[in-house]
Subunit: 350 residues, 2 copies
Amino acid sequence: MAQLDRRPDQKFRGRATIRDIADLAGVSIATVSRVLNDRPDVSPETRESVMQVVRKHGFTTNRGARGLSSGRTGIVGLTLPLVNDAYFGPILSGASEALYEQDMRIMLCPTLHEHDREVSLLDRLTRGTTDGAILMLPEESSEELQHLQEIGYPFVVVDPREPPPPGVPCVSAMHSTGAKLATEHLLELGHRHIGAIGGSPGWYANDERVIGFRAAMAAARLLPDPDMILYGDWSIPTGEQAAEELLSRPDPPTAIFCFNDNAAIGALNAARRHGISVPDELSIVGFDDTFQATIVTPRLTTVRQPLAELGRMGVSLLTRLIEGQRLDALRIELATELVIRESTAPAPVG
Amino acid sequence: MAQLDRRPDQKFRGRATIRDIADLAGVSIATVSRVLNDRPDVSPETRESVMQVVRKHGFTTNRGARGLSSGRTGIVGLTLPLVNDAYFGPILSGASEALYEQDMRIMLCPTLHEHDREVSLLDRLTRGTTDGAILMLPEESSEELQHLQEIGYPFVVVDPREPPPPGVPCVSAMHSTGAKLATEHLLELGHRHIGAIGGSPGWYANDERVIGFRAAMAAARLLPDPDMILYGDWSIPTGEQAAEELLSRPDPPTAIFCFNDNAAIGALNAARRHGISVPDELSIVGFDDTFQATIVTPRLTTVRQPLAELGRMGVSLLTRLIEGQRLDALRIELATELVIRESTAPAPVG
DNA sequence: TTCCGTTCCGTAAACGGTTCCGGTACCGTC
DNA sequence: GACGGTACCGGAACCGTTTACGGAACGGAA
């Protein structure tokens, strides 16, 4: 009989286990597991009757236990420098939404940009708790990533700091084309004396944007002037500082291309302090199109990165990797797009 | 001998297990476990020699397995409406940092404000994967929370939507005192005709702020005027809309107290559209002191909530709960503080 | 009828830990 | 010398699943 042999029908001590469900449904544990995992080898009637009990008790399988026995936990790790950030926030958000749709859970690992922390966190992730990981702007060196790769641990990097070693899947945005777009926009507005405020030199995103900037300038037959591009660390203060320097020069630029919105906000501040009106006297374009770009005055013309989409794409690659599928394309670059708002205008005459 | 009986000393097939460590150290599995968990009943020498092997191989215990056998996984669930949000971001950030310090991991569950999603997520969390949970602005009804409580699942709510049922630990900020502070500030500046833009009526945070606002007004012998307080949903557009209405009246207020920074930003927009200068003609104060308050023009005078601290405090309560300690105080309210910046000024004369 | 193939399902062995329950060695005491 | 106590450690059961394997029941072909 499908009767209580171990436990009464009433409420279980804690939550129901697969065994409880099996008892209740009058089948073996194995069968319940098969039903739960959509395996064949179960008759439709049995499947249905098991499902009824499952539904009735709101049973869900214990992922820890599943991880133990099958090696698949349904949890993926996600490392990122900061969780509370206009830039990483949307990526995380996109990734988490995609993961939810796949019925996978997220193990969140903020690294605060600390290399050691990231390494140790990652090390733990590989130890059975997770099926794979998404590494956002990873702190790891190429060797470390390669090692991870050799271990056979599935992971993908989103928004790489440096070009990742061959073979590791990676999604980023088209930095150089975005930068080119922004610069061309400034050029079309008649600006010729254009400054740039970069991010951290050596970072992939920064260097690519420099390339795009230079390319557009070159195409307009403007000689590259190293003095016109200053570097910061993607933050508002360093952006402000760089803009300050640019604007204090004898012949300040009429436009500044900032490599991220933070720098652009900093530039806005500097301009305000100098009594320079944006966009009438100075055009500013940002990069990323974070939320901040729309609440600042004037609203920023900026290059949109599909941030949430970066996250979604990352999990898409990752799940395929976990499934053991061979990836067709390891490198994915998402298109960027210029969003014109109020911080750019035709170059002042004279 | 401490020699290889199952596995050679070289690299293991995957990661080392506790059994590998035990073999290598020449002790039993149980002993390794004791060492790892800082249990007594191990001699200092044994402990040290085991630790050496552990360190050498960078061994860390498989949390899923631990969860299975001991019931403690070292993972806590964290539900919140949005991960990419100026308000929740800092709370999440604070919580994650505190959790990291406790060597606990986070299972992130964004609910997108969907009740069903939150319930199902939470249901899964209780099933063995987590030791407890932090519920940020939970969607759950009191009954649901109470049920969770009865199950014996440890959880704490941070920033409750409604006053939680008795017995459930909960941390929030001093909304009404904060609102009182803000209103008094406006009053001191000479404003007498003060409007307010609330959030969602019925929410604890909103209602408390209404109380604080009214209290300060009453103390200044100003009669409460229901027309002067409009409600939105904490977003910029609804804030803007409410401000629009306030400013379109025959006798518009000289100051608006917004119940969050979003609404304040909306009010800023509305004022700009009306050609009303802030703060000269209109004072605006926000609430929360999110990052946005400082990048907007003019920078917002606002009431600071210790957001990160809310998160930290939440995990502090939760860990105590998990340890089985009785909590001294179930309700915790963190102090709020007025931050005066540029969006408030003395009331215009006449 | 016998035999083979399917289809469906149960048994039991892992998975990697924790912890209860003892067992040994060694010490001091009578 | 016998005994009890303590400190330390190992054996083994168990946590909740998955899955390889085998067995029963049944149908069709020889």
